[in-house]
């Protein structure tokens, strides 16, 4: 989980800077990327595999739109701090949980539940609520102003750490 920043050379960084979006949809995408970055297809593939193995990348692929792709909901629950890991583990076991974070707050576990449709989403949350024996706050999105996690990596700030 820790800073792999110093293990990344300029080709790794350029790959990340150029291709968080607009990966080419052509028969040999990694070749097209290699040509753009002045390297070889083999190098691009090797680098991507390595970045993925290092967990710098979770994957190379599409990010689907939450609203169009199915049902999803941000939810939170307050649990005793000394049992937080155990509760988080229970939450992670429920199918459809794709984010699960501890945050500094009375409501200390925050997770996103997804499902193919609203009714299975509600069923999963109800089930989880029973299992945890705690009230789960459901915070549906009403309006999206900006959702873009493909922001530019601040390499120079990482350098200072």
């Amino acid at each position: 989980m820790h800073c792999h920043y110093h293990d990344l050379d300029s080709l790794d960084r350029r790959l990340i800077d150029c291709y968080q979006r607009d990966l080419p949809v052509c028969s040999r995408p990694f070749l097209a990327m290699a040509e753009h970055l002045n390297t070889t297809e083999e190098q691009v593939i090797k680098r991507l595999q390595r970045l993925q193995a290092m967990s710098v990348l979770s994957r190379v692929g599409p990010v689907f739109d939450h609203a169009l792709a199915g049902a999803s909901l941000l939810a939170t629950v307050a649990v005793p701090d000394n049992q937080r890991d155990a509760f988080a583990e229970l939450i992670n076991q429920v199918p459809g949980v794709n984010h699960n974070y501890a945050r500094e707050h009375y409501y200390n576990l925050w997770f996103v539940m997804t499902a193919a449709d609203e009714s299975s989403l509600a069923a999963r949350l109800n089930q989880l609520e029973t299992m945890l024996d705690r009230k789960i706050l459901r915070l549906p999105m009403l309006e999206s102003f900006h959702i873009d996690l493909a922001f530019k990596i601040p390499w120079s700030e990482l350098e200072e750490v």
Binding site: S55, N98, Y101, R103, E104, A115, P140, V161
Partner: protein, 182 residues
């Protein structure tokens, strides 16, 4: 869209037939195979031609079902782990305007209006600020508050402490509903 493959799954006892395009969705959510011809590999796995797979992906991009296609970075692994979720209790008649204004700020990576959950949760606007250091994130927040005149708006800052799971959405019905490890 008529090809069906017997990728039968059990969901509440109901077997589900996945057609080739749904199957492609499931495969894509796990990421591209890192080989010279990834679309060809996916095509073989769901009984389509490479060209059909590429056409389908392009269509989903046009329809914005796919928001972006590329490297999905885990920011925490890079050391971008000062991640503040800032929640605000904005009067309903102002919330859209404030949300749009905050979303224009380069340090704000996510911004949305959510339903309040009274009496436990009065906050209706959420925005995320990702940074390398906590002090820097708090300074950026102060600057936002000042610039947009939000000092009077009730707010709380929730820094993340630990990521128990961070992975892409898994919406499509899949063979077994379990997860790839995060």
């Amino acid at each position: 869209m008529t090809t069906t493959t017997p990728l039968a799954s059990v969901n509440g006892g109901q077997p589900i037939e996945l057609n080739a395009h749904s199957q492609l969705r499931v495969l894509l959510e796990q990421g591209l195979p890192l080989t010279p011809r990834p679309w060809q590999i996916l095509a073989e796995q769901c009984g389509l031609e490479e060209a059909e797979v590429m056409a389908c992906v392009k269509r989903w991009q046009e329809e914005s079902l796919i928001k972006r296609l590329g490297l999905v970075v885990r920011h925490r692994s890079l050391g971008i782990d000062a991640n503040a979720m800032v929640v605000w209790n904005v009067p309903d008649e102002q919330v859209s305007r404030v949300g749009r204004a905050l979303a224009e700020e380069s340090v704000v990576t996510l911004c949305y209006r959510r339903a309040r959950c009274p009496p436990d949760w009065p906050f209706n606007l959420f925005c995320m600020i990702h940074g390398v250091r906590r002090e820097q994130v708090l300074e950026q927040l102060e600057a936002l508050v000042h610039r947009h005149g939000l000092a009077e708006i009730e707010r709380q800052v929730l820094f993340s402490q630990h990521a128990y799971r961070q992975c892409g959405g898994r919406y499509a019905r899949r063979k077994s509903d379990e997860h790839a490890g995060a």
